[in-house]
C-alpha cells in the first residue's frame, strides 16, 4: 500500500493585527481573497498539486471560520484511506493546560500526532501567503543535500528586510539553492539578502530534538528560536531559492496590492494556471447562478465571480459572489467581499468591504478631498451604511456598527467603532 511519506503542517493560528477589522472574527488564513477563495487555499492547493495529501492545520484564533472552510478536505482531494486534513486545536491534558505559545510550541504539543504518522520529512508552512510552489522540488533538494532543515527563501530588497527572517545563502547550487551561512530574524541590517518564506522542510529527528530543547526557553517561534538554535548547533541547513511571485498579506496595503496583482492582461497571480481550488460548499459558492449584467452595466479590468448582479460600473476591482451593484453606482480600485449590496449612485473608491455590508443610495467612500485618497478604507462586516454617508480615504469602520453611531461624514483616516 502506498502510504504518504510527507506530513505537512500548516501554521494557521495567527490573527495579524495589522489586518484589523478583517481579522476580528476570523484568522488571517481564512480571509477571503481574489473573488472567491481564502488565503489558505493557496497553501492547500499547492499541497494538492504537489501530491502531498496528509495535512495537519494548527489553528487557535477564532478557528470556526477555518474549520468550516476545510470541511471534509474533499475540495483539495484530501479524503481517502491515507489522505486527509486534521485540524489540531489547542487542548488540555494531565500535563498542561496552556494555549499554543507560539508556532514551535504548537507543533511541539502535537508531537504524538506527528510520531504516529512517522513521516520521512515534515513540511511546515504558513497558511497566509499568496504563491505557487511545487513542494516536491523542495523535498527533492532537501534529500539531495541530506539537510537537517531546508528553508525556502526569496530575495528581497534590503530596506524591506527588517520585517523578515533573513538568510545568507552560498551559491553551492547556483539559482537553486545553497548552504545557509547566516540567519538573522527581523534585524535592521541583515547580512543575507534572502528572506525566509516560512516554508520549512525538516528531518523529523532534528525537529523533535530542537522542539524539546526549545521548551526550556521563553519564546517558541520557528523563525526567532528554532532556526537560530539549529544554526548555532552547526546543523546542515540549506536555503532553497524561490524565484516566483510571492504575495504577503500581513498589512491592509499588502493585502490590497496582492488582490490588485490578479488584474491586468497578464496578471502576476493566475488562479487558473496555478490550479487554485477552494471549498465550494463554504458560503454555498456552488449555489450561485452566473453573474447577471444589466443593460447599463459597465465593467473593465476586474474579477467577478458567479452570483453577482451588476447594474452599475466596476473598474479595477475584485467582486465576490452575492454582490449587487445598483444603477449609477461606481466601484473602483476596491475589493468587495461576499453578499455586499451597493445601492444606486454610490461612489466606492479604494475600499475593502467585508461580508454582508450594504451601502444605501449615494454613499461615497474615498472621494474627497479630491486627489488625496491613496489610503485604503476598510469597512467591517455586517454594516448598514446610511444613505448619503461620505467616508474619507483611509477610514476604518468596525464590524456590525450600531445604526445610531453613523455620522453624515467620516473623516479621512478615522477609526469608527
Amino acid at each position: 500500500m502506498l502510504r504518504p511519506t510527507t506530513l505537512a503542517m500548516i501554521l494557521a493560528g495567527g490573527r495579524a493585527d495589522e489586518l484589523n477589522v478583517l481579522t476580528y472574527y476570523r484568522p488571517k488564513s481564512a480571509v477571503p481573497f481574489g473573488g472567491f477563495v481564502r488565503v489558505i487555499d493557496f497553501a492547500l492547493s499547492n499541497l494538492m498539486n504537489s501530491g502531498i495529501e496528509n495535512i495537519a492545520i494548527l489553528s487557535q484564533y477564532r478557528s470556526y471560520s477555518l474549520i468550516n472552510h476545510i470541511g471534509t478536505g474533499a475540495a483539495w482531494d484530501m479524503i481517502g484511506r491515507y489522505r486527509g486534513i486534521s485540524i489540531l486545536p489547542p487542548f488540555i491534558d494531565s500535563q498542561q493546560n496552556d494555549w499554543y505559545r507560539g508556532s514551535a510550541d504548537a507543533v511541539f504539543k502535537n508531537l504524538d500526532f506527528i510520531r504516529y504518522h512517522a513521516p520521512e520529512e515534515i513540511l511546515i508552512l504558513s497558511g497566509d501567503h499568496i504563491y505557487q510552489m511545487d513542494y516536491q522540488d523542495v523535498i527533492d533538494y532537501h534529500h539531495k543535500k541530506q539537510a537537517d532543515l531546508t528553508v525556502v527563501c526569496k530575495k528581497v530588497a534590503r530596506q524591506r528586510a527588517s520585517r523578515f527572517g533573513m538568510a545568507a545563502i552560498d551559491d553551492e547550487d547556483g539559482q537553486r539553492g545553497g548552504r545557509v551561512i547566516n540567519y538573522q530574524e527581523k534585524t535592521e541590517r541583515p547580512e543575507g539578502e534572502w528572506s525566509s518564506l516560512t516554508v520549512l522542510c525538516f528531518r523529523p529527528e532534528t525537529l523533535y530534538q530542537a522542539l524539546a530543547e526549545n521548551q526550556a526557553d521563553t519564546s517558541f517561534e520557528f523563525g526567532r528560536d528554532i532556526i537560530p538554535r539549529l544554526m548555532s548547533q552547526g546543523k546542515r541547513i540549506y536555503g532553497y531559492k524561490f524565484h516566483g511571485y510571492w504575495g504577503y498579506t500581513r498589512t491592509i496595503t499588502e493585502y490590497w496590492q496582492a488582490n490588485m496583482d490578479l488584474l491586468g492582461d497578464d496578471p502576476q497571480i493566475d488562479l487558473e494556471q496555478w490550479g487554485v481550488r477552494t471549498n465550494l460548499d463554504h458560503r454555498n459558492l456552488r449555489g450561485h447562478q452566473p453573474a447577471l449584467f444589466g443593460a447599463q452595466a459597465k465593467i473593465s479590468n476586474s474579477l467577478v465571480y458567479n452570483g453577482c448582479l451588476i447594474d452599475g460600473t466596476v473598474r479595477n476591482s475584485i467582486v465576490f459572489p452575492g454582490v449587487s451593484i445598483g444603477p449609477g453606482a461606481v466601484v473602483e480600485d476596491s475589493v468587495i467581499f461576499f453578499n455586499n449590496s451597493i445601492g444606486r449612485e454610490c461612489r466606492i473608491r479604494k475600499t475593502i468591504s467585508d461580508v454582508n455590508t450594504s451601502f444605501d443610495a449615494g454613499v461615497r467612500i474615498g472621494q474627497e478631498p479630491e486627489g488625496s485618497g491613496e489610503q485604503i478604507s476598510v469597512v467591517g462586516w455586517n454594516n448598514q451604511v446610511p444613505p448619503g454617508t461620505s467616508i474619507g480615504p483611509g477610514a476604518t469602520i468596525s464590524p456590525s456598527l450600531d445604526a445610531t453611531k453613523w455620522p453624515a461624514h467620516v473623516e479621512a483616516g478615522r477609526v469608527l467603532s
Partner: protein
C-alpha cells in the same frame, strides 16, 4: 397510517432523444444539455425533487446516457446521498422475458416494476427530465391525497396555438379530469399536461399489469384511467418551459436575462454537479479586461472577457478576445472567440473555436430555413457543434449548421450561405 409525502418514490424519465435539439443532442441526452451557463436541463427536475424534500429517485435512461450518468454522479450535488436517500440510474436491460428497449413512457416504468416494488411507498411521482420550471412536489402529493385521486396530473394553461404539442385535459369544477385529448389538432381546452404524474403506488402497479401494449401515459394509460377511475388535474401557475426545440431553448435562455420573466435558478435553489466535466464551475472568478463591454448578459465564472458580450449566456471558460462581439447567443463551456470575430444569434456547443475576424450569423434572411432541417432551424439561429473550429475570416449566414468536430479544411468557400450546413 400513510407515510409522509416526502417518502414518495420519484421516477424521472430521461431517456428521450429530443432530436429537435439537433446538434446539441448528438452526443448526449436532452436532459444533459447545458442550460443557463452552469446548469443542465435535468438540474431543474432534480433540484425541485430535492427542494420538495423527496429523496428517493430513479432516473430512467436510454439514449446516450454517458453524459447524464456522469452528471448525476453519486447524487451528492442534490443531497441524494445518505442512509435513506439515493439516486439510481435505471438503464434498459435484458431479462427472462423482456429484452427490448423502452418503447414509451409507460413501458419504461413497467420494465422497472421490480424497482418500484423494492421501494415500498404510497405514491410514485413520475417526471420528465427535460423541462425548465420550479415546483413543489410535496404540495402536489398533499393535493393528490386531499382529492383521494388515483392519478393526479400537473397541468397548466398554455396558448391554444401550442396545445397541439401536449396532452390536453378537460376538467370539471372540482378539477377532476373528465376527458382527454393527446396532442389534439383542434383543441377544446387550453389546459396542457406537464408530463408530471402522481400515482397511488398500488394503482400504478395494477394499471401497468393490465396490458403490455399500453406503452404511453398520455396515449393509453391516462385516457383509460379517466374513463374508469379518479384522475385530477393539479393546476400549476408559474414559469414552465418545454425546451425541446432550438427556438424554445434559445428563448428560455434569453428569459434568464429578464428578471421579470419569472425564471431565476438561484432563487429557485437549482443545484448542479459542478464537478461532472472536469473542473466545471470550480474555476476562478471571471476576468474582465480593458476591452470588455458586457451588458444584459449572464456570465459564468472562469471566463476571460476582452470584447463585447450583449444579450448572451456564457458557460464557464469562454474566452472573448479583444474586438470580438457576441450578441444574442448561447455559448457553452470553454469556447474561444478570437480577435474581432462576430457572433450573432448563435448557439455554440462546448470547446469550439471561432477564428479571428470570422462573422457567424450575418445578413437579414432569418426566414431562409436550414435545408437539411427546415423544422429545426427557421428563425435565424445558427448552430455550431462541439469541438468545431471555424477558420479565420469565415462568413456564415443564418440558420446554418456547423457539425461537431468540423475542422477548418471542411470550409471550402469563404462564405456559408443562409440555410446551408457543413
Amino acid at each position: 397510517m400513510r407515510r409522509k409525502a416526502s417518502e414518495a418514490l420519484v421516477l424521472l424519465l430521461a431517456g428521450g432523444v429530443g432530436s429537435r435539439l439537433n446538434l446539441l443532442v448528438e452526443t448526449r441526452a436532452k436532459p444533459a444539455v447545458t442550460f443557463g451557463g452552469l446548469y443542465r436541463i435535468i438540474d431543474f427536475s432534480l433540484s425541485n425533487v430535492m427542494n420538495s424534500g423527496l429523496n428517493r429517485v430513479g432516473v430512467l435512461t436510454q439514449y446516450k446516457p454517458l453524459s447524464l450518468m456522469g452528471h448525476i454522479g453519486t447524487g451528492d450535488a442534490w443531497d441524494f446521498t445518505g442512509r435513506s436517500r439515493f439516486v439510481k440510474i435505471l438503464p434498459p436491460r435484458t431479462g427472462m422475458k423482456d429484452s427490448d428497449w423502452y418503447q414509451g413512457t409507460a413501458d419504461a416504468i413497467r420494465r422497472n416494476i421490480d424497482f418500484i416494488e423494492s421501494n415500498p411507498t404510497d405514491e410514485v411521482l413520475i417526471l420528465s427530465g427535460d423541462h425548465i420550471y420550479h415546483m413543489d412536489f410535496a404540495a402536489m402529493i398533499e393535493y393528490h391525497r386531499s382529492k383521494k385521486a388515483d392519478v393526479t396530473v400537473g397541468m397548466m394553461v398554455v396558448p391554444k396555438s401550442q396545445i397541439h404539442q401536449f396532452g390536453a385535459g378537460i376538467t370539471n369544477q372540482d378539477n377532476r379530469i373528465v376527458d382527454w385529448e393527446e396532442k389534439p389538432a383542434v383543441p377544446r381546452t387550453n389546459l396542457a399536461s406537464m408530463g408530471i404524474y402522481v400515482f397511488d403506488q398500488k394503482y400504478l402497479l395494477k394499471t401497468l399489469a393490465r396490458d403490455k401494449n399500453e406503452i404511453d401515459f398520455g396515449m393509453h394509460i391516462l385516457p383509460w384511467a379517466i374513463d374508469n377511475d379518479s384522475v385530477f388535474a393539479y393546476p400549476f401557475y408559474g414559469y414552465w418551459r418545454d425546451v425541446g426545440t432550438i427556438q424554445a431553448y434559445w428563448e428560455a435562455n434569453m428569459d434568464l436575462l429578464k428578471p421579470e420573466s419569472g425564471i431565476s435558478p438561484e432563487a429557485w435553489q437549482i443545484c448542479t454537479n459542478v464537478e461532472a466535466e472536469g473542473r466545471g464551475a470550480d474555476r476562478p472568478a471571471t476576468r474582465y479586461l480593458d476591452g470588455a463591454d458586457v451588458r444584459n448578459s449572464l456570465v459564468s465564472a472562469g471566463c476571460v472577457i476582452n470584447g463585447q458580450v450583449i444579450n448572451s449566456v456564457l458557460s464557464p471558460g469562454v474566452v472573448v478576445e479583444r474586438g470580438a462581439v457576441v450578441k444574442d447567443s448561447i455559448i457553452f463551456r470553454d469556447c474561444r472567440i478570437e480577435e474581432n470575430a462576430t457572433l450573432d444569434l448563435i448557439i455554440s456547443d462546448k470547446l469550439t473555436c471561432f477564428g479571428a475576424g470570422c462573422k457567424v450569423g450575418i445578413g437579414t434572411h432569418h426566414d431562409i430555413a436550414n435545408r437539411l432541417y427546415p423544422k429545426h432551424l427557421y428563425t435565424g439561429i445558427s448552430l455550431v457543434g462541439e469541438f468545431a473550429r471555424i477558420p479565420e475570416r469565415m462568413r456564415i449566414g443564418r440558420n446554418c449548421i456547423v457539425r461537431c468536430n468540423a475542422t477548418p479544411d471542411l470550409f471550402t468557400a469563404p462564405v456559408l450561405q443562409d440555410g446551408e450546413s457543413i
